[in-house]
Symmetry: C2
Subunit: 408 residues, 2 copies
Amino acid sequence: MTTTTLITGISQLATPPTPGPRRGAAMGDLLQIDDAAIAIVGASIDWVGPRQEWTGRTDREIDLQGRAVIPALTDPHTHAVWAGDRYRDFEARTQGASYEAILAAGGGIRSTVRATADAAVTTLTALAAPRVAALVASGAATIEVKSGYGFDPDAELRSLEAIAALRATTAARIMPTLLIHLPPENLADRPAYLRAVCEELIPEAARQGLAAAVDVFIEREAWSPDDAVTIFAAAKMAGLPIKAHVDQFHAIGGVAACVAHGALSVDHLEASGDLEIALLGSSDTIATLLPGVTLHLGITAAPGRRLIDAGAIVAVGTDLNPGSSPLFSTQQAMALAVRLNGLSPAEALTAGTANAAAALGFNDTGALIAGSRADLLVLADQDWRSAVWTLGASPIERLFIAGQEMQQ
Amino acid sequence: MTTTTLITGISQLATPPTPGPRRGAAMGDLLQIDDAAIAIVGASIDWVGPRQEWTGRTDREIDLQGRAVIPALTDPHTHAVWAGDRYRDFEARTQGASYEAILAAGGGIRSTVRATADAAVTTLTALAAPRVAALVASGAATIEVKSGYGFDPDAELRSLEAIAALRATTAARIMPTLLIHLPPENLADRPAYLRAVCEELIPEAARQGLAAAVDVFIEREAWSPDDAVTIFAAAKMAGLPIKAHVDQFHAIGGVAACVAHGALSVDHLEASGDLEIALLGSSDTIATLLPGVTLHLGITAAPGRRLIDAGAIVAVGTDLNPGSSPLFSTQQAMALAVRLNGLSPAEALTAGTANAAAALGFNDTGALIAGSRADLLVLADQDWRSAVWTLGASPIERLFIAGQEMQQ
């Protein structure tokens, strides 16, 4: 015998009208219902509509007394597993040190790799758990977490094990991605490392069920588009979808390679130009904005407005990491996409919900419609736009994941 | 018989080394003590030093087990009392509407004035209380709140009454400022309004003890520097210190007028140039940065780096208001000053503590030294720099105001 919980007193319900990815102008079209109700059975939404139209049985009623409700968020891009800190780099940068100078002083990403390599799996999980909890408190019910701070296959597998262990610490759905991040510093070592990645690491991560996707960092100082295509082939052989970090500092052909190979998403895009925007405008590959990097490093913002105008499917995430985006709120990432990337509030909501879920291959969350997971946020305000307008504090009063209310 | 509470287990204590304003290069000099202790008697700090040097009596010990401690923050610039919302303007701006078009459509600041004028004092206080609570949760122990959304002296006095009533809702120290914000739209009405402000409103607010300072909005579409000087004279006659909003969109001589008349602070400064920077570099008038406006509206950032290099006393605040800075965290304002205004982490800490307090005329908070109020923050991290590095979530675990721990 199933129990129906009816959520009432919803001043305003706002949601993408359908699950799955929405592109271009459709990103701004929300379904909006005043004085709405939502019927939940188990982990799923059974019915959504105007309160007065509900005629079913109600076993339990939750009266929100005039608050807005939106879908829970998805954070499609985080590096939440790391050890050590980057405070010294943070200080040095404000004193004018260049990225290269920081690296030369033993700082930068390679210092995070050293600290992460030295940490036990249990330590990595313990360090990551409060970061994930902060993202959940900010409204995320589904969170992607990448490996990538290892310099050898064993270290990468340990990071993936730490991500798997995170599941015991949170009600949020954790999606693990194997990130092929930095190549060996010595050019001569790269071919062997690439072979190990493709022939050992990817198949082993897939075999153990530790990765749901493979991501490649395509950049001048990292992997070339050709390297990425080699890695993509190994990922496909292992049955894993592909993603990539592209155009963060330089547009070197990453978008074209990813679109040609059917990547699930391309993330960053700060240096994307006309060609990349046009490619993404007619592709099913999702363009993921990471505005925390723009705020923290002061680099150019990705052309979110132009991507949407070109017809692209745009998502947004935190990129939570210690070096380039210490942004511990998925809601703030959405709010920043309006300020820094030119999205409208409605487009930002779609980018942080339906499209962010689609960037992880999900269409069961991110829209409040019958049949979806009951992942939803109750806002403190009666107007849904507070979810995108509010800076510096949480506009969220209550959070439900798969029908269960979280204790905040 | 007094009771001594000893806070121990402080991995790192970081504070401006003295209370009161600090200028230029001195803003970057912090007193830092590892394995520190703080002795609190009543509302005040009795002693600060390395744990092992404490030889006094300890009646009660609070062991932080390895967390960093910094002074509690001061928010020297908020407009926390308002009614209505500006969501429609927020949406319109992302769709390219100009400030003028928003005003013409009945939006903009005058819509906030209409809504605030229609609200009862008790309503205004009830609306403002959770906003102040958010600032306190973000680390602020002293908070300035301005009137300014009234269009007549009565409405301004009602806002000041609402601010006074806020004191019953929070342990934070609330400092009320009478803001002479927008002049009448009709130019012909301005002289009479200016006279009413100087001859009725300011003396009455002072007589009733409702204002601790007078602020003027100096801008092309608002008051001229000459108007401001007239208002300053009335404020001085009433015994109130003066402040001003200057150079937000246009530098029209506000800084020079304020410095010449001994203003406590000049706030905004986004359009300040060489002349204004030089004036503030050798003045005791505090230069208050409001980076939330830069983030929300996308306007130029105030030249924080150049002001400090010129020797100015720089403070930072949220400017919390519905139209141009919906930033509900004093800690995030400090964090944004690093990203947007070019401050170092140490300079930002000084700007958000000792200098922010000085911008309200206080030297009893903002530095952890014997004799100061026991206003302090316990961070979740062992490194004080987390207080400035963290974006999107609170790095603060515990907050003490005047020796009392707040329940968060």
